[in-house]
Symmetry: C2
Subunit: 492 residues, 2 copies
């Protein structure tokens, strides 16, 4: 056999070790210094051009040169989520052991579509762990690791449609939507846009979604929901899915899942819970009651790459009855089938979703839960939620700040309301938008923004495991400082 | 600020360096020794139980303990694609520099959904490189890195449907399938099952697919296709997409893409090319002509995690007119939008597909192309295709072997035909199946299998960058050896 390390795709073992230690050093320095960098550094124009305009390499480039390029042009211009002051959207920092073990996953590069390599068993273990964390452990339940909340929600809604079609005697896989039941899905207006994208992609159209109003806590209005369902049934439509939010990305609102489960039971509707952001919030004893009923869901979408701090990407869909998910997606062909392999009751992972080749996401879940442990995550999540509650209290007690949504999990929605702008919604919106732009450009902490009932909202998600009281204080200080400066600047 | 390395998600910089060097050592040993392991080791029952039955950790486990666990229970039981004798399905070994740089990607953990971190510019560079490799560079073309061929094909077919609906004045995103045009998609019977899964998920049903027969080279029958299109148009259906294969996974067949492009042009149909396995075959000068017409496609699905040897996962969809893909998928909300950011003409990556949070796949593409270079890949691909052609020649010249499909790219389909079983299809199928089971269980090389016209087929894909003539010889030897033994064993 020729020297298999002489091919350009390979490095000799010595080179691999030498370059590997450089890579570890570059990563370690990044993790050490990320807190000293601007929180969201924008690459200067010349770096941007360097990155964009690299010519397609005809001949291979030296590894040393490559690492120098990345150290100079990539590492300093990351997204900021490694910084404890990062409070944007729902983006966590990566847990350190998972950074390291990802390399082992890349080295074995197992296609986790099926078969019986070690990765398959580790994925089943990871799914069992996630089910246990959520108290979602009925005997036929199962799950699949996917690329994130968008895919998890898509998978779940597809299963919901499949189940409803089958009950109606309609072969949805063969016949598609046309001529079949007129399906309707219900969700609150606060529901994430990926639900809409999923329904659109599934050929149902936005018209298949009834967006329900919410109560003052941004939870789905149950009376309105019951009325809508009754109307749809009366008009011959088929309610097939209710999406309950276990933590909206906007405000952290948790719908009344137990009430939704009752409604679903009554009408034989699939209850899907979108817990992409918030499902792991159930681990915080102070919040656990909010999630009552989640264990009755037919499916749950959740994201280990959010609160569990796995590196991207790692989402997960859980289903109460795995047979439905499998019947919805499984498509074997002579090419795919591995002859002579004993398949067990669970079959291959690819039968539960869209992807055939699959990356080794289970290693990320295993790594973070093994290293941090359940109690470690419980502490983190509880501390973050408590800091959010404290921040909300402080905002409520402050004359120049206004709380725009009740705090539920780690998100706080508020705005700066200087007395001079009292009730001037237009100028308040403009001012708060300018504050966020300033904060994101040069602040010491980094919130994102949203809109709540037409009001521009500063949205801070306390989501870094190392965020502490000082970061929250900095947020308030900077909001007031930029707000004050902007008010002065705008004085006629 | 409290010590941010004291949290359980973190490692101190010293620990990170120390454990990092252990991880590099474990990975290096794996890459060195993978060739000495069984080609597809099955974890023994006690290892399987170890992996499956780990209790959910209440408290964190020590990193040293974790690495020891992985070294013992995970690394030795990978999938085999790291071994040069692995010839199963379409699964490549990982390129070594990409294994290393993946760790840097995990360390910065950039969400590549949008915004202007360095990762965004590197992704645009990677897309430009891929377009250049394929000669697919019209001015409005663009692309998106996705999790693999299944997602790439789904994205492309969704864009095709969107384009056809818009032309028909039908708002598919709002209205869905029902009441709209009766869409039809055409593809050869040899097309990958993920196309069917995509069409099903999109609510069109399998009935929306016309599977066309193939010619003796397993390419789509163009006359049958023209007839089917004419019939469908006559009957009021709307042909919206033709899927051309640029290398079927079964046999490597490349449809006549130029003829398909002509047909599409004539009837205003979207031409989608599924090049998940084979698109990079265009880099082999001996094969380039086969791909004529690929540059006229409206979309192409391809997989850097196949022939470019990136670690999982990395697929890609390219489109000729990026506006269509964006109009099909883009859904902005106040929560998602980043205020005050200058957006350029291309917008955010998440607007081109389903995923909002996205992993940093561009780093994989950048790493393999930077290290290996275009000429390095051209050599690899050309050598693999040439070895496949030589193997096919040898099979054709051998009385006890039968070639079941003409060799096109790196796949060879054949079977063992001992004179005693001449024309006994049933026993030939059983025998060849047993040969594959034996080979996969204990052979020195590892083919997979498929069916071609009812005949059980040994399918060898010469896809490891370090595969050489000795591996091909071993395949033939082992097929004959196991075939002979099985024949002897079955003698009454």
């Amino acid at each position: 056999m020729s020297d298999r390390f002489s091919y350009p795709q390979a490095l000799s073992p010595e080179e691999f070790r030498r370059l590997g230690s450089q890579v570890i050093e570059i990563a370690a320095r990044h993790l050490e210094t990320v807190v000293e960098l601007p929180i969201r550094p924008v690459p200067p124009e010349e770096v941007k051009q360097q990155l964009l305009e690299q010519p397609l390499p005809r001949e291979g480039r030296s590894p040393a040169d490559m690492l120098a390029f990345l150290e100079q042009n990539l590492m300093p211009y990351a997204r900021g989520n490694g910084h404890p002051g990062y409070m944007g959207w729902v983006i966590s920092p990566p847990a350190h052991m998972a950074i390291l073990t990802d390399l082992l996953g890349a080295a074995i590069d197992t296609n986790c579509g099926g078969g019986h390599p070690a990765a398959t068993w580790l994925e089943r273990c990871a799914i069992r762990w996630i089910k246990a964390l959520l108290g979602y452990e009925s005997p036929d339940s199962h799950g699949l690791l996917v690329s994130g909340g968008s895919m998890a929600n898509l998978n779940a809604i597809a299963a919901a449609r499949y189940a409803a079609a089958r009950r109606a005697g309609w072969d949805i896989r063969q016949q598609g939507m046309c001529g079949g039941p007129d399906f309707v899905l219900y969700a609150s207006r606060e529901t994430h846009s990926c639900i809409t994208k999923a329904v659109e992609l599934m050929g149902m159209g936005q018209k298949a979604i009834r967006f329900m109003d919410t109560d003052e806590q941004y939870r789905i209005d149950l009376d309105a929901l019951e009325t809508a369902i009754a109307e749809d049934i009366r008009d011959g439509r088929v309610p097939f899915c209710i999406v309950g939010n276990a933590g909206t990305a906007n405000t952290g609102a948790v719908d009344n899942l137990a009430a939704l489960a009752d409604i679903c039971e009554k009408h034989d509707i699939w209850l899907h819970v979108d817990g992409s952001y918030g499902a792991f919030g159930v681990m915080d004893p102070r919040c656990a009651d909010l999630f009552a009923g989640m264990d009755r869901a037919d499916s749950i979408a959740l994201d280990p790459h959010k609160w569990l701090s796995t590196p991207f990407d790692c989402g997960c869909v859980l289903v109460r009855d795995r047979h439905i998910l499998r019947d919805c997606f499984s498509l074997m062909s002579p090419l795919i089938r591995q002859v002579g392999m004993d398949t067990d009751d669970l079959g291959a992972q690819h039968e539960y979703g869209l992807e055939l080749s699959r990356s080794f996401r289970a290693l990320k879940v295993w790594s973070v839960l093994s290293h941090v442990g359940v109690e470690g995550f419980r502490d983190t999540i509880s501390r973050q939620n408590a800091m959010a509650a404290d921040l909300a209290d402080y905002v409520e007690q402050s004359d120049d700040l206004e709380l725009l949504a009740p705090p539920v999990l780690s998100v706080v929605c508020f705005r700066y309301v200087p007395p001079a702008l009292h009730a001037d919604e237009e100028r308040l919106n403009a001012l708060n938008k300018d504050i966020v732009v300033k904060l994101q450009a040069e602040g010491r902490v980094y919130p994102s923004s949203t809109e709540l009932e037409g009001r521009f909202t500063i949205r801070a998600n306390i989501f870094h495991y190392a965020a502490d009281r000082s970061d929250v204080d900095t947020l308030i200080e900077d909001v007031r400082r930029y707000g004050g400066e902007l008010m002065q600047g705008s004085t006629p």
